[in-house]
Symmetry: C2
Subunit: 312 residues, 2 copies
């Protein structure tokens, strides 16, 4: 570990979290405008993608790039693409046949605002545009191929997790194991992909310490980033479940208490609230120790701590 | 042009259309099994992907690879991935909020057989698995990046075309122009992608005549393949529209006459049946002359002729 704080690290790089998010927004907006969509589809895609959102996954990508010796900008295409996949998943998960949600980020969901047919096609479009963005904005085709591989695997696992969550199909026997199997895929897989893609992009040009030189991937660093991603991915879901129990709809910007209403398995239901809090603390420690193995992992540590503290 | 027929070409290469299709099927089946889906999702994906289908797009990919001096096997990952994208589009297009079809290839559609939630997730999964397949089965990451770029663009345009077809949003002013704008995207874009991906994969290792050597793309050949794809793509849709007017549901394996019922613009409605037939013949000639520019384009010519003659 470098011994300096994430804030100092960010200042040294001249990049705060706010600046990182501010650098992703125009990539998202300009790329959607560039692909030649019909106006009605473009407006619905923009509604789904551009207004609101914590941009957590882009931050994970950019901090992962910095953590392995690259820059936040190296990870911009990966960051934007992962956010598009996240946006697609929200649009489809909200559909009447799935979670049937009317409200998202304090606004009507896409199918409420633009109709169900458009919402299905907006989700589909966001997925393909994400892969397009990686291919058209990456520095070379080899990097694009590596990033697409990570994104595609993360997306497939996320979809599998959504099936487990809404339609069942588990291999695991106990409730705790099922819950972990679901969330490792539904939430965790794309978070891991965000981290790995950022790290791969950050290593690509810079190679750096102990690496295979230019355009290479250092497996030990990638492993540490993967462990970090797995830990914060599960922690994120635990915090989400705890917020759903503890917060009001107004604070969350989406309907709260709906997990319990729907009879869904959640960590607080299966493990109890206190044990869930302790598990979240354990995962934060795991994330911290994984990030400490990286050259410049302080930003990842700060981000994990902010994720543990979040209240919406 | 080589001066030998497509059949002779195929025999010289030891590959008939039947053999090509037979080589794609196990790639589709084994890849779906390999990605670790929950059993219920895997079975629904297999239902959507493995049973039936003309496999036209894989044939276009493989014949395009041969046409530029490669082999059918070079195009296998591209061929399988394009077919997965095609299968995804059918599953989502059939949904109640879109075309609301109960029947596909003579069987209940995916949402009728597996429920609407699963059908949405099957379509999503087929798209991400398609990109996964390209990345994991291509000979190197640079080729994977190039193929993903083509596939992503083709998929986005296909989705835009579906929006135009079902929800409007045209730029074009006249019915004929709108029809062409819709079908260039809805049907044509993925057919063009199938051809271009096959050609890129076929050129990758072989380089060949007048090329930039190994791992390069010959732009003149790619342009000829693109022109071929554009011509057969529009022709395919014309033939489809003509079949919808002329054939029974039993012959087609899907509901016939539904375009007219739905008041949709089709070529026979806008141009009349005879003018549609003449336009199809003109496009066949355009496909033929584009393929003749290629070193080994005879297989593409035979395929275009078979597409013009098809009766289902």
């Amino acid at each position: 570990m470098s011994g300096i704080s994430g804030t100092q690290m960010a200042e040294r790089q001249g990049v705060t979290d706010e600046a990182m998010i501010a650098s992703v927004e125009p990539v998202l907006a300009s790329f959607v405008r560039s692909v030649g969509l019909p106006r009605n589809l473009r407006e619905a895609v923009e509604y789904a993608l551009l207004e609101g959102g914590k941009r957590l996954r882009p931050l994970l990508s950019m901090h992962s790039a910095i953590a392995v010796g690259g820059t936040a900008d190296d990870a911009l295409p990966a960051a934007a693409a992962v956010e598009m996949i996240h946006a697609f998943s929200l649009v489809h998960d909200d559909l009447p046949a799935l979670d049937n949600d009317d409200l998202r980020r304090g606004r009507p969901t896409v199918h409420k605002a633009h109709g169900e047919a458009m919402a299905i096609l907006v989700g589909d479009g966001l997925m393909s545009i994400a892969f397009q963005l990686i291919c058209e904005r990456s520095s070379d085709a080899g990097l694009a191929g590596q990033l697409c591989a990570e994104l595609a695997q993360g997306t497939t696992r996320m979809i599998a997790g959504q099936v487990l969550d809404t339609l069942g199909g588990h291999d695991a026997a106990t409730d705790v194991e099922r819950l972990r199997e679901t969330h490792r895929q539904k939430t965790g897989a794309l978070i891991v992909a965000a981290c790995r893609m950022g790290a791969i992009a950050g290593m690509w040009r810079h190679g750096g310490r102990g690496g295979r030189g230019a355009n290479g991937v250092r497996e030990d660093d990638l492993l540490a980033v993967t462990r970090y991603g797995n830990a914060v991915g599960l922690m994120f879901q635990l915090v989400d479940d705890l917020l759903d129990v503890e917060q009001s709809t107004e604070q969350l910007g989406k309907r709260s208490g709906k997990d319990a209403e729907a009879g869904k398995l959640t960590y607080p239901v299966v493990m109890g609230v206190e044990a869930s809090r302790m598990e979240a603390a354990r995962l934060l420690e795991e994330a911290r120790s994984s990030a400490q193995r990286l050259e410049c992992g302080a930003g990842l540590i700060d981000l994990a701590e902010a994720m543990a503290r979040r209240d919406r």
